[in-house]
């Protein structure tokens, strides 16, 4: 259900690419005194001949302006338009200026895809290898595939949330977002492996006796306490990062938070049941 909503978000709204993927500049300023009116400032920027910009207020006294042009001239133009003077530094301070040319943007986008794909492949290989001794009753590569399925679930949910956030609040998908997704990948597998490890151990103990399904069920019973405890501990840390951390890692912490919740859910309620259904389906006669 949540997954369906996420997919809906991704396909209908798509993502707002941050400047590091699309190319462009971001200028963040803070006014020393009162912040001027938003629509008035927009008009000033129009009047200054700045094309296709987006402006949004940040904090109490700041603005963030995003434009497609990456030159330093456009930065100066924006500064003087915002401050309505030739000496912008008397009215405001520049907090941040990022500008990324389109070539780098393309390259970063490509690298993001490569690294996600590589992480998935390597984890599949690793899980299959780690569970190589447990090929009965289901072969070890299936653990890998199920881990990957759980993992897709875990990254699609925060990605979907981000599509919504992007649509309604202008949140942007940037390099940090991709980092968050990759971290969720790592965590998700981490969590799933703990459950699988218990299944592995219980299978060994059972020495071929007992239903696969009940062994999986038993393993889940034995591990969900730990899963919840760990997720809660990580949750605490991330929540603290979200509330108190740097503004610029805020969405990052949020993405991770959602991913951790999704990851905990999937390793308990998704990965192991999938393993069982697959086994049932494969062993039907």
């Amino acid at each position: 259900m949540v997954l369906a909503v996420s997919l809906f978000g991704i396909f209908v709204y798509g993502f707002n690419l941050g400047v590091d993927f699309s190319g462009g500049s971001i200028l963040e300023v803070e006014f020393l005194g009162e912040r001027p009116d938003l629509s008035l400032t927009e008009q000033k920027l129009f009047a200054a001949g700045i094309e296709s910009f987006r402006i949004q207020p940040t904090g109490d006294k700041g603005f963030m302006v995003r434009v497609a042009d990456t030159s330093d001239e456009s930065r100066k133009l924006i500064l003087s338009a915002l401050s309505a003077s030739d000496e912008p530094e008397k009215v405001l301070t520049e907090k941040r200026f990022d500008s990324i040319g389109p070539t780098i943007g393309r390259e970063l986008r490509r690298n993001a895809f490569i690294s996600i794909a590589l992480v998935i492949i390597l984890i599949l290989v690793f899980v299959s290898w780690a569970f190589r001794h447990v090929s009965k009753p289901i072969s070890s590569w299936k653990y890998g595939v199920v881990a990957i399925l759980a993992l897709m679930h875990d990254i699609l949910i925060p990605a979907g949330l981000f599509a919504f956030l992007g649509h309604f609040y202008g949140a942007e998908v940037d390099a940090l977002f991709v980092t968050a997704l990759l971290t969720i990948l790592g965590f998700s597998v981490h969590d799933t492996i703990v459950v699988f490890d218990r299944i592995r151990e219980n299978l060994r103990k059972a020495e071929g006796r007992g239903e696969f399904e009940s062994i999986v069920g038993k393993s889940l019973d034995e591990t969900y306490g730990r899963s919840l405890a760990t997720s809660f501990a990580i949750f605490l840390v991330l929540a603290s990062l979200f509330w108190f951390g740097a503004t610029y890692t805020r969405y990052f912490a949020l993405t991770l938070l959602i991913g951790i919740v999704a990851g905990t859910y999937s390793s308990i309620c998704l990965a192991s049941p999938l393993l069982v259904s697959w086994h049932k389906w494969a062993s039907r006669t």
């Binding site: 500008s99 040319g101 690298n111 151990e201 501990a233 990580i234 605490l236 840390v237 740097a246």
Partner: protein, 443 residues
């Protein structure tokens, strides 16, 4: 038992030492090792990160790395002249592209820096100033006038713009290194003119406003090539060629990315990161104690050991800390706790199954190990890939996460284990309550 206690004591001592090392720079920078502080990334201290694309399409592929080196040297000199502390100037190859990365800490208004960096390195030829004029200027300078003028040389028309290339050679008879200059057509004409007018006099060669050589002209040269002889060592001559080539064949560069963070935003991010860290770790510590009671308390010590260990590693390597890096570190705290939780849950289980506590402890650690190992390897895989493919922001995150995961395995398996074992375990009613398990039913 004594041995275990001694080991635990030893670990506590190490922990105290790590604590001293990790925190000395905040409290008493003048004390031993207190001068070493954390290296902060540009996003936390404020500064500019500039990425230049070098246009190497005109350069022979075998000479690209040499010209990039030259480019780096020139720009490094310019940046140094700018008075930036610890500037970073790096050549980066990415696919078929050659790039130059310039990091200037503490420079927010990168405009000035960009201007300086963006200029083609400036090579000038200067002829000697007539003695009369020279004396007038020197006299004036003694009175602190006309100080900006060079009393000895006058700039000529000839600049690096006309230089085609420069090559290192060795004199056949003396075997001394010689630097050959080759001008383009227009440059050859000007150079011919200059040499004709200055036979027997010095012609000075300036790079970026500094004299690098002032050879005496032997005769008029109209071939468009000149040579600089001097008392060079081969290394000096090579460096000169590199500098000249970069001045003459300026690999044209173009700014393609710029990130500047103001100092105020930087320190705000830093303070927020530290606050988030403190609250996050405190919350986790509280949770551990509430849920796992006595072992939880011990785990908090293990966790403190872990935090100090990681911070010390950050200092020693050193790791450049960024906002994302702090996030990675905090996340690794969560992972470190996971190792402890895995062990404790196992111990609880064993106790519940009726094992005595000493035994439960042993098996708890042993059984938890495969899942700790396998699950952490998957995180390590992720952080390695992030480190490989990432930009500097992501690298900071991947590095701190990776270090954190490695340290967490160590602290859970060594520190927490010995702390718990040393705490002493007697089989009585009390300890069952301490360990959060019901007393096994007598049967």
């Amino acid at each position: 038992m004594l041995k275990i206690r001694l080991t635990a004591l030893f670990l506590i001592l190490i922990g105290l030492m790590l604590g001293y090392f990790a925190g000395a720079n905040f409290v008493r920078p003048d004390w031993f090792l207190g001068g070493i502080s954390y290296r902060l990334g540009l996003d936390l201290r404020g500064g500019s990160h500039l990425v230049y694309q070098a246009d190497v399409s005109e350069i022979d592929s075998s000479e690209i790395s040499e010209s990039m080196e030259g480019l780096r040297d020139v720009i490094e000199r310019r940046v140094n002249a700018f008075g930036v502390t610890e500037p970073v100037v790096q050549v980066q190859k990415s696919g078929g592209e050659s790039r130059l990365i310039v990091e200037l800490a503490g420079v927010f208004d990168a405009e000035e820096a960009i201007k300086m960096i963006g200029q083609t390195p400036y090579l000038e030829f200067k002829t000697i100033r007539p003695e009369k004029e020279r004396d007038v200027i020197i006299a004036a300078q003694e009175k602190r006038e006309r100080v900006l003028e060079d009393p000895y040389f006058i700039p000529s028309e000839l600049t690096g713009r006309f230089l085609k290339k420069s090559v290192l050679n060795f004199d056949l008879t003396t075997n001394e290194p010689v630097v050959l200059l080759e001008f383009n057509e227009e440059g050859a004409k000007i150079f011919g003119q200059i040499t004709k007018e200055n036979v027997g006099k010095q012609v000075a060669i300036y790079l970026d406003g500094l004299p690098i050589s002032a050879p005496v002209v032997q005769q008029e040269i109209d071939s468009g090539s000149a040579q600089i002889t001097g008392k060079f060592t081969p290394d000096e001559a090579r460096a000169l060629v590199r500098r000249l080539n970069s001045g003459a064949l300026p690999v044209p560069i173009r700014l393609i990315a710029q990130q500047s963070v103001g100092a105020s935003l930087g320190s705000e991010s830093l303070v927020r990161g530290i606050i988030a860290g403190i609250y996050g770790i405190l919350a986790v510590a509280l949770f551990l104690i509430v849920r796992y009671r006595f072992p939880g308390l011990i785990a908090v010590f293990g966790l403190a050991f872990y935090v100090l260990l990681v911070l010390s590693v950050f200092k020693i390597l050193p790791v450049t800390l960024t906002a994302a890096g702090i996030a990675g570190f905090l996340l690794s705290v969560g992972m470190a706790v996971d190792a402890n939780i895995l062990i404790f849950e196992r111990m609880r289980e064993e106790v519940r199954w009726g094992a005595d506590i000493e035994h439960a402890l042993e098996t708890g650690f042993k059984r938890a190990w495969p899942s700790i190992r396998d699950s952490n390897i998957s995180t390590l895989i992720t952080s390695t890939i992030l480190y490989w493919f990432g930009t500097s922001i992501i690298r900071g995150f991947a590095l701190t996460l990776g270090i954190g995961v490695l340290a967490s395995i160590f602290s859970a398996l060594v520190a927490t284990k010995f702390f718990i074992m040393a705490a002493g375990l007697r089989r009585n009613r009390f300890s069952f309550i301490l360990y959060g398990a019901k007393r096994p039913e007598a049967n």
